[in-house]
Symmetry: C2
Subunit: 174 residues, 2 copies
């Protein structure tokens, strides 16, 4: 990690008494977003440290987020809205599961074990962002592993304008 990041951390720690987050400011909400460097859920929504639980993975996949939703719901009483936010120009619209499998196999030509593992993986390719948001919210709404009644919303974050637009609202009903 670059020295300037470590210096920034020292400054952060030096001023920590006034910054220290606590669960008192938690809004009882979860956000699922992409790990893309251009996505910053704090900036995007004016969120301060401590206000939201934020899950991020390639594409902002709800399927990939299930474990991370279940733990706070079932163990720590986090019952609030789950907002699924996908963004335009997402990398997951640019590479398919089949292409990912080929790329990984090419990087490991002599490894049958790698080929078998990657062939068993789904990379959650996105064909259409709005459809993917709808599908992810539908997936959560029908998932009995989650707390029944949890409010769900699905959003598209436009990287060209910085605006978020609501695609769908729902609730866990399984």
């Amino acid at each position: 990690m670059n020295p300037d990041l470590l210096q920034a951390n020292e400054k952060y720690a030096a001023n920590f008494a006034s910054l220290k987050p606590d669960m008192g400011r938690f809004r009882n909400m979860m956000i699922i977003a992409c790990c893309d460097p251009r996505v910053d859920p704090y900036d995007l929504l004016g969120l301060k440290n401590g206000e939201a639980l934020i899950i991020r993975n390639a594409g902002g996949s709800a399927v990939d987020a299930v474990r991370s939703i279940m733990v706070p719901q079932h163990s720590f009483g986090v019952t609030g809205e789950i907002a699924v936010i996908h963004h335009t120009d997402c990398g997951m619209t640019k590479v398919t599961t089949d292409q990912m499998r080929e790329l990984v196999k090419k990087a490991n030509p002599a490894r049958d074990d790698v080929a078998a593992t990657v062939d068993s993986m789904d990379f959650y390719h996105i064909l259409n962002i709005e459809e993917a948001v709808k599908n992810d919210v539908k997936f959560l709404s029908e998932n009995p592993l989650l707390l029944k009644g949890t409010k769900l919303s699905g959003w598209v974050h436009d990287l060209e304008t910085g605006k978020i637009s609501k695609v769908v609202e729902s609730a866990v009903s399984a």
Copy 2:
């Protein structure tokens, strides 16, 4: 989503011309951190929007992050350091996989399908934060699905002081 968050997004979009992130400021690094509301990788390291790819899940598990690491590595040329950052007082130290299974089954008493699904899930319980960081970095270093030579580092983020401390450095060697 609360109206004040949507208002904050309108402000963000209104000032977007000067804020718009681009990959020009990307530091070619990935961060894996926990989804806990008290963890904010931007504040913690003084990172600005666009500088890092940030994966977040319950516990900051590297095992859970593999798909999200593979896509940018194999498809988008993200070859830089992966920093695994776990934090003190993590929820994953407070609930075991067995306890999670029991909680979910109790919430769905008549569902054998739910019981079977949750029994097949690993929730990546953490016994000791430093050991978990070491194990996660070791897991990545030995993983042939990742790009050979990728720099790895493992850190503990102390929620009481705001300081991060390096636990381990390594590289992908599989």
